[in-house]
């Protein structure tokens, strides 16, 4: 039972990240590879606020989300004039800088990480109980799904998608990238931070190895597999990529090789989808020539 709950929580957490990346990439055309940095920043801010400054968990969580969103928004404003290629490189750089910083800084306790992080409790719901934690994660996933759906059908999405398709033509219609893109980046970063808080509050311990570039790439794979510009696609892609490797556990694969077999299978699956259905499993193909 605990395993099923763990899996459901994992799907919910990655689902939130995939939905937030889909907002940036699917609707906004911004290939962001700093997702793990957002999660990490949220985790570390929460952990430091609660363990060093003894802030109440809920206050620490609010500070963490606001701080992550504000920093991501500021960075996005700096990057609005960049080309798409530069933007991708910049987000990889942000990811690398974050990892190096938390790995080497004394304040973050370097590679030893931070332990003794208090759980988050909202009324009777606490991140300590597997059932409550999974319910909280599932609730956050539903919230993110609803938010993404609302945004995708709003006038704001017209501005976002217009900038994605042709930024010069969008500027001609007075749709300003320095207004639209930082806003959606802040939302995605806030969602990433929320995931980071849930991870830190449930495990009570964090270290830099959880927030590496491969995590960002995994979230990107979920979106690419499920389909760009599709909320359901992002969730389905996550579901497949989280569950499929776990099915291998049922087979008699050598436990030392299982990690590499999982990676290979996920890669083959992703390549197959991108080859035969470039828009992803549930992504819209109507706008594609």
């Amino acid at each position: 039972m605990d395993y099923v709950l763990h899996l459901a929580a994992l799907i919910s957490l990655y689902g939130i990240l995939a939905l937030s990346l889909d907002l940036m990439l699917g609707l906004g055309g911004m290939m962001n590879l700093a997702t793990a940095a957002y999660i990490g920043f949220g985790s570390y801010t929460y952990a430091l606020a609660t363990t060093r400054f003894m802030a109440p968990p809920l206050v620490a969580a609010a500070i963490s989300i606001i701080a992550t969103s504000a920093i991501a928004c500021a960075l996005s404003i700096l990057l609005t004039k960049c080309s798409r290629e530069t933007f991708v490189l910049a987000t990889i750089s942000i990811q690398m800088i974050f990892y190096s910083a938390v790995y080497n800084l004394e304040a973050t306790n370097g590679s030893n990480g931070i332990s003794g992080i208090p759980p988050l409790a909202i009324g009777s719901i606490t991140t300590m109980s597997p059932v409550s934690f999974t319910s909280l994660c599932a609730f956050c996933l539903c919230l993110m799904f609803g938010l993404r759906h609302k945004l995708a059908s709003s006038p704001f999405s017209l501005g976002l998608r217009a900038l994605r398709d042709d930024d010069v033509a969008a500027a001609n219609l007075l749709i300003r990238s320095n207004r639209v893109q930082p806003a959606v980046t802040a939302l995605a970063a806030g969602a990433g931070s929320m995931v980071g808080i849930l991870i830190a509050a449930s495990s009570g311990y964090i270290d830099p190895t959880s927030f590496v570039l491969s995590e960002s790439l995994f979230v990107l794979s979920c979106v690419a597999l499920g389909g760009f510009e599709s909320g359901a696609g992002a969730v389905v892609g996550t579901l497949i990529l989280v569950i499929l490797p776990d099915c291998l556990s049922l087979l008699s694969v050598d436990s030392n090789a299982i990690f590499h077999v999982r990676q290979c299978l996920s890669g083959i699956l992703l390549l197959s989808v991108l080859r035969f259905r470039p828009a992803g499993l549930l992504g819209s193909t109507r706008g594609l020539e």
Partner: protein, 240 residues
């Protein structure tokens, strides 16, 4: 509303494309500019639209009165987004339907405001926007294609959709780069009537066009020709 370009000079890699080009227009005027290929027509429009910076000179808009005979604008200020350009090749957003493309052209602050977009939008506002878009599409006979994507339309239909997208925001100045190119007779007439309607509404239209027949059809007294980077009134001699 007044619009002027003062002493515009533009060089590309040492080649002077525009030499001391000045022009001005007031509300309801149509300025038609002709010229050969490579004469600098499109460069001039891109500069007027603010997409390309001139080497020297400036583009100005003003809502204050213009003194008679003056080419300088009093209290002028830089471009404020009142100016929209129709590109030579339609640049519709490929991931948006035609209806969404036209709607993106409306001056709706919600296009840039994420927080307000999340909140419920009043039904009257939503239906008002839809009605405006449908009316515009009706004018260019694209109502039945409103749910199609740009690549599913012909070049002429895409061009007309671009025109209504442009006009959806009621810009004070409309710049059109070869608007009649590749349009058939009916589409050209539709475009001419849209421009006349826009003129009646008090907007300024500046268009560059290779084909003099289309310029004549606009019945505007303000016709110019660009030659060797210089702008001059279009005389009968210039037509030869």
């Amino acid at each position: 509303m007044f619009f002027s370009a003062d002493h515009i000079v533009k060089c590309f890699e040492g080649n002077r494309v525009l030499s001391d080009v000045s022009l001005s227009a007031r509300s309801g005027e149509i300025l038609a500019i002709s010229g050969d290929n490579g004469s600098g027509k499109s460069t001039l429009l891109n500069i007027l639209a603010g997409l390309v910076l001139p080497d020297t000179g400036q583009v100005l808009t003003s809502t204050e009165p213009l003194e008679a005979g003056s080419t300088k604008l009093p209290g002028c200020h830089k471009l404020t987004g009142e100016v929209r350009l129709l590109f030579q090749f339609p640049r519709l957003f490929r991931g948006l339907t035609i209806e969404e493309n036209v709607r993106a052209g409306l001056r709706d602050p919600l296009r840039e405001n994420m927080l307000r977009s999340i909140l419920p939008i009043p039904a009257a506002r939503e239906s008002g926007a839809r009605f405006t878009v449908q009316q515009l599409l009706k004018k260019v006979d694209l109502t039945s294609l409103s749910n199609r994507y740009p690549h599913e339309l012909s070049f002429g239909q895409r061009k007309l959709a671009s025109v209504v997208q442009l006009l959806a925001g009621n810009p004070s100045v409309v710049l059109l780069d070869e608007p009649f190119a590749a349009l058939d007779g009916d589409a050209a007439m539709t475009l001419t009537s849209l421009l006349a309607e826009n003129q009646k509404a008090g907007a300024i239209a500046i268009l560059v066009e290779h084909d003099l027949q289309h310029i004549d059809a606009l019945k505007t007294p303000r016709k110019f020709r660009i030659e060797a980077g210089r702008i001059m009134p279009l005389s009968e001699r210039g037509r030869s």
